[in-house]
Amino acid sequence: MTDRTAILDTLRTQIEPFNKKGVAITEATSFQGDLEWDSLTVMDFVAAIEDEFDIIITMNMQAEIENVGQLADAVEKLRG
């Protein structure tokens, strides 16, 4: 399993408790459009991802991340 696949798997697991509509998760799934998360959900989810990977995703970075693939990119980069 590549690093990226592992990251995507972890992201899927972390999305699950917040995926109230049972949306199928692909790299193109968007947090606002597809998952319809409000700002409070986003905050809880981001905190969970940060803790999982022991990273910080600043609010500046969060503003640029719209979908699961972009989040995986960010995580990959931040883990260095």
Partner: protein
Amino acid sequence: MTETGLQSEKLPAEPVAAPPARDLFAKFDPLLAERTALMSSGVRDPFGIVMEEVTSPTTAVIRGQETILLGTYNYMGMTFDPDVIAAGTRALERFGSGTNGSRMLNGTFRDHVEAEDALKEFYGASGAIVFSTGYQANLGTISTMAGRGEYVILDADSHASIYDGCKMGDAEIVRFRHNSVEDLDKRLGRLPKEPGKLVVLEGVYSMLGDIAPLREMVQVAKKHGCMVLVDEAHSMGFFGEHGRGVYEAQGLVLGEDVDLVIGTFSKSVGTVGGFCISNHPKFEGLRFSCRPYIFTASLPPSVVATAATSVRKLMTAHDKRARLWDNARRLHAGLKGLGFALGTETCDSAIVAVILQDQAQAVVMWQALLEAGLYVNVARPPATPSGTFLLRCSICAEHTSEQIEQVITMFAAAGRLAGATK
């Protein structure tokens, strides 16, 4: 026209048809629809109240009815203080109605300096900068203090002015879970060591009226080499020995534990304006770099004159302080006794927030209270944490015991009507 003059420009014979203009107002549709639905249910507009007359710090006339004010942030009841009014009147007559300019140019009058001197004395600080509003004090201070490559670390429940200060600046923004010392520690531990960092905290969080564990948070912030800003908007005058705020009440010292304090004239001080105070030797640098300070008109002379007088009186307002706490505790106990869900388990501040199920219940209850002669604030998401709907009471030192009793009786009836209590 000379030979070198303008040449006539020909429009293309058949201009390309522009698409019809997109209506930028369309984005307000959901919001307007929600309001229409709410209003058509027959309730009054909670965001359209007009005070026809204000008869004291605690009473006003709304639609011809004498109403008790319990949602005004006039904590210390200074708005009708005779000395404050006299100072404002004198300044209005001697200096005119406005300054017509920026603090940096022609907009600093005697009483702007006087207000800054009063603040320095109040806080025992070497520096004070007066802004035109509290919102601008946060906007300007945060956006200017933390630059590109530096960090601002803020509580998730921070006031909009703190969020907007972050958005306006160039720093990296990191937030931590509300009032969680552990989460703050964890997040600071993940940040690079080198860059400058500003941790932004509030003494009292205004939606639920809960206070921050500032001592522990400052300890963590200092451990990670951060500077600390505390917004004490909702605590000035009645927390700590000198009324400096929650930081003072928790034994923290300006210049050692806390680097910057943000405050406002629109709450305990009883007028309008904002300020930042500090003991840092280079504090004046902020004044010369801060856009929301420079590129706006300064406060009118009457406003800063009332502020200066009020701040000086607050230094010794021990009786008012005692009355405010007494009123707040009685209201908190009374509402808790009626079975309401409140924002805090104990009476932590001069804000008592009643937590309700949804917007409909909040508005029904708010209206019942208003019709009975009581004004409180309705607060709703996104201003509130965790999507809650609140009726927020802010208490005044000038509320009488009888008014507090009346208020509790009104809440009992309205709570039953709205189905919020049994």
